[in-house]
Symmetry: C2
């Protein structure tokens, strides 16, 4: 297949103009097929949906076709949710109809570990060779906010288009990542949950995302792969083009067994895998949280490869912790120069505050304008490559109201997060030193929901202006280490 | 001093019947002294408060005494917020009045690193030898919910009495821990922020808490100590009586420098400290989050020393992750016996779910009664020592409403967390196998506050019945490892 016809096939699969859903029944609304139709209607899928099911009739105002061949005009993508025993005939129909790709939600094949399961699965895989590309089986399929195509649960799922791609065996993880992204201001280019990967696999998706100019960061969750060498080659080549943030699960004995029963692939020997993946340039993470933290750093901090942090904030313990954590990850908190220190000194009362770095501003209520000036001084110090600003929203709002305000005062109005985000943004643009906000949650009881609301608004304001935020120092510094290692590694290879 | 008179002194300091606050001015409401008076009024301090300040007059309806000697009757504890240059004369007044202890909020002594600062501080320390015990200077002092005595900010700060004690140099950290505790259902016995520790120090507080029958768990945040051997002896002895969950900061070069300017003590050589603290039996943690996670395990899981986890929940990726994480921390996910597996099999549809352990229940909406039966089967497997139950509240409520409900339906009513907490509690009582809930937050945008509310109610319901909850597997398993290591270590010493 030529490159351009290959691209065209993938355009039809990722951004289909027409979508057939096989396995729909008007009388079974709670089934994968019917739910998938509703999900894509709710999510505002821009193409045409053709439900298909032997019973016929109507669902959500759409005609249910009794066979794929009865659909007028071409079908780009088929979503298949028929029972396992009908899978091969459904695929045969798709092939005859000229469908570009089929994503198979149905489970019960290779992952069962039975002879029968494996046999049907290789039957499925054979269609890939004939020109009908297969996503799955045992998967959730494709989510593409650019055309509104989505996976279950659908409707309220992340709709924001963006430049982050995801590939992974686990559908549940695709869902969780999709739901997590809006709170971080992240948008997706495409997400692909590929389950048993009998045809389209991690390596191929890596290549596609690497060559996609609208994709800036690739994320992946890999349990195991069938052809390790092929995967490593694709990873190596993709990593030279853009960061690949990868969670490789199943690196232990128990983990490897869990992988086997989850998607029927081999986890492999942990230590060997780890070193091979690192050598291939992957940014390795060990969970969903670290994956998203790292993506946030790649999204906002460019090709940052610094070493020295300035830490600015109130509360000495956070400062000490930042120094420990920085060193743990290979960074440092360089002592401010005499001139930096004397400039900062003029901005703050001297007793109870230490200004050598961390710049302990003494209490959490120091207003944005003064914090801005302290950050600007810090940024001008030649040893400082990034600023970590600690802001305790709980104290700025709730504690302040308790001590000085009246109980009815809305907390959102007391928070200066918007102003502070703007100041952070100005400083980073003026000085080229990035600012990262640390916003610890502190309280978590039901009675403190109002604080949580302000915290979320503060994160939103910062992310909107390109200032990443993290709930604690460790997560911030760990994400910065991942960013740093990637760019150092990549620059060394150039 | 005899033991009983020593106890009496500490009763007067921790639970004072009378409290003098030095450094109060009717015209300066925003000053440590005045704020401290308000904080203790708001927190419902049960004893009598005597504000003291040269200006006289009234504050919050209380007479301001112009000298300590004018107060009728004895004073148990003095809180001192006078300027640094007046500190010694204030202490002289306290000594003459027969005050048992003085907590000094004023800063600007040894931590400045100046000759003058050190000189005044040793003057302060001298009072300790004369019978006036000193907490501080440069500290927030004592929080004791048993008598309502509190630190700044006061009023809305944790009021729940409990059996967890805290000692630490950092006042800010005491505040943050105090605010964090209610969300975890934890209550405090006493919290002591001791700042520069010129008289009462970490070692002495450790001894006091170790000998206090109403204290079950000790937590501590230590930057540095003056007498390392004394501290290690106290730690060793305390650890044989109850767990001491300790965060030792300043273990790196930068950290050590930050400690120096924060509270004027030496951080010391990291590796040596670490191994000495471990040998002395401390449960070492590296942050506030891990500290509280670990306390939660000690509060609810007794003397647990198991090794094998059963993981129950929907979403295969979480299962694989649990196996990896378990092994990383020295635990395992033993494969279920044939009989366990066949029992669980009967409770679930077979396709798409794997039951070897993790028991992947296939989707997040499996109701509590079925989860209960699966957990009970798991608990009866001889290799299972604890159950990790994964519940995704977001999907149980928000996603379910999206797919099957109506938009106006309140999410709290859709969640079965109360029922599930009760079932978890029954299982743990019946089988003696503890159940730990994993409640990942998933979403964090301002529009999803309703989910966060249910999550908080779910945590509250579980903690109320003695079932600990964690936001992710790693934090749960890390806390269990700390618990396990403590009890194994302690039992080996018996």
């Amino acid at each position: 297949m030529s490159e351009s016809s290959g691209q065209k096939v993938w355009e039809r699969i990722f951004c289909p103009k027409t979508l057939a859903v096989l396995g729909v029944s008007a009388s079974k609304l709670i089934s994968f097929g019917s739910m998938f139709v509703k999900a894509n209607l709710d999510s505002g899928y821009q193409g045409k949906i053709y439900p298909v099911g032997s019973s016929g009739g109507e669902i959500y105002g759409l005609k249910i076709y009794q066979g794929l061949d009865q659909i007028p005009g071409p079908v780009d993508l088929a979503c298949i949710a028929v029972p396992a025993q009908s899978i091969l005939s459904a695929l045969e129909e798709c092939l005859n109809k000229g469908v570009a790709g089929a994503q198979i939600l149905t489970a019960g094949f290779g992952e069962l570990g039975t002879e029968e399961g494996r046999k049907i699965e290789s039957g499925i895989a054979a269609f890939g060779k004939k020109g009908l590309r297969i996503i799955g089986p045992n998967c959730f399929g494709i989510h593409c906010p650019y055309c509104g195509l989505t996976i279950l649960p659908g409707g309220g799922f992340s709709k924001k288009p963006g430049d982050v791609a995801f590939f992974g065996q686990s559908g549940g993880m695709a869902v969780d990542l999709g739901y997590s992204a809006p709170g971080l201001g992240l948008g997706w280019r495409r997400m692909v949950s590929y389950g048993n990967a009998c045809d389209v696999d991690a390596a191929e998706l890596l290549e596609l995302f690497a060559d996609d100019p609208q994709c800036a960061v690739i994320t992946g969750y890999v349990e195991g792969v069938r052809d390790g060498q092929k995967f490593l080659r694709a990873l190596k080549s993709a990593s030279l083009k853009k960061p690949v943030v990868l969670w490789k699960a199943g690196l232990t004995e128990s983990g490897s067994r869990a992988v086997m029963s989850h998607t029927g692939s081999m986890g492999g020997e942990g230590a060997i895998w780890k070193s091979a993946l690192k050598q291939a340039g992957a940014v390795l993470v060990s969970g969903q949280e670290e994956m998203l933290d790292t993506v946030l750093a790649f999204q906002h901090l460019g090709e940052w490869t610094g070493r020295g942090f300035a830490v600015v904030g109130g509360g000495g313990a956070l400062g000490v912790a930042s120094a420990d954590t920085a060193e743990e990850f290979g960074f440092c908190l360089p002592e401010f120069s005499e001139s930096t220190r004397s400039q900062i000194q003029k901005l703050l009362p001297s007793v109870g505050t230490s200004l050598k770095n961390p710049a302990d501003v003494g209490n959490p209520m120091v207003p944005p304008e003064i914090l801005g000036k302290i950050m600007e001084c810090s940024a001008s110090d030649e040893n400082i490559d990034a600023i970590l600003l600690i802001q305790i929203i709980h104290h700025i709002t709730w504690t302040t109201r308790l001590q000085f305000g009246n109980p009815g005062q809305p907390l959102a109005g007391m928070s200066w997060h918007q102003k502070l985000a703007e100041i952070c943004n100005e400083i980073r643009q003026k000085t080229r030193v990035p600012v990262i906000q640390i916003l610890p949650p502190i309280s978590s009881e039901p009675e403190k929901m109002e604080v949580e609301n302000v915290l979320r608004l503060a994160r939103q304001a910062s992310h909107g202006l390109g200032i990443p935020t993290y709930p604690n120092l460790k997560r911030a510094i760990s994400a910065l280490a991942n960013l740093n290692n990637y760019w150092r590694g990549r620059k060394a290879k150039m």
